[in-house]
Amino acid sequence: MTVRVTLSDAPFDPYALLAQFARDAGGDIGAIASFVGQTRATSADGAAISAMELTSYRSLTLRSMEDIAAAAATRFGLTHLLLLHRVGRMVPGEPVVLVAVAASHRRNALQAVDYAMDRLKSEAVFWKAEMGDFGRRWIEPSDGDAADLARWNIGQEEHDNNGRN
């Protein structure tokens, strides 16, 4: 199992990284799945967004990402996992997060990406602010994120071993 986690303040090309990931994973796997999250151009209330700023507390943030990645790799029997997350200021359309996984079978690969993203969206140690004509405002955790997380029935042991919460 190869797990790679990166917290970066520099822009990245997710598709170049994905091509490299597929090469690194080798030919003896059945499935590669991925997710690329981008900065949206509109807020949840429909307001135009000119930029988004993600901040972190590096030691905790990186550990929360590593915990989530390790849990996904274990739970879904992945052979490879790549998790890269941006911090800093991003404009609409700019990539924020890349999750790529390799597994023997498609369902495990697809579920692993979904699982990792649900945990990232609710547990990873990031703070987001969006900017636009309204000024600058912080984004609060949403009930939807909590509901998404609940789908996975994450036990206390999984949290204790792999999560901060």
Binding site: G37, L54, T55, Y57, S59, L60, R63, M65, H85, V96, V97, L120, K121, S122, E123, A124, V125, F126, W127, K128, A129, W138, I139, E140, P141, D145, R164
Partner: protein, 82 residues
């Protein structure tokens, strides 16, 4: 006097800056007391202080955890997620 340097995360930094310097008579001091002291100096806007967690040396701790001035201390509002 003990001088505590506190990393202020997320929206807490808007009012206090990235680091808040607190000179307090008490050492050690509970995270709850540190949070109250930070709130008194830099209350900020829209901060749900009752949900602000403490972190000592890269571990999230309970409100009654004791902090020393030489430790790496942070206050964390609820996370937005990735």
């Amino acid at each position: 006097m003990a001088v505590y340097i506190i990393d202020m995360c997320g929206r807490l930094a808007d009012a206090a800056g990235q680091e808040l310097r607190l000179e307090l008579a008490e050492e050690p001091i509970s995270i709850a007391a540190l949070r109250d002291a930070a709130r008194a100096i830099a209350p900020g806007q829209g901060v749900h202080w009752e949900r602000v967690r403490g972190c000592i040396d890269a571990e999230i701790v309970a409100d009654d955890a004791q902090a020393y001035a030489h430790q790496t201390i942070a206050l964390l509002p609820p996370v937005s997620g990735g």
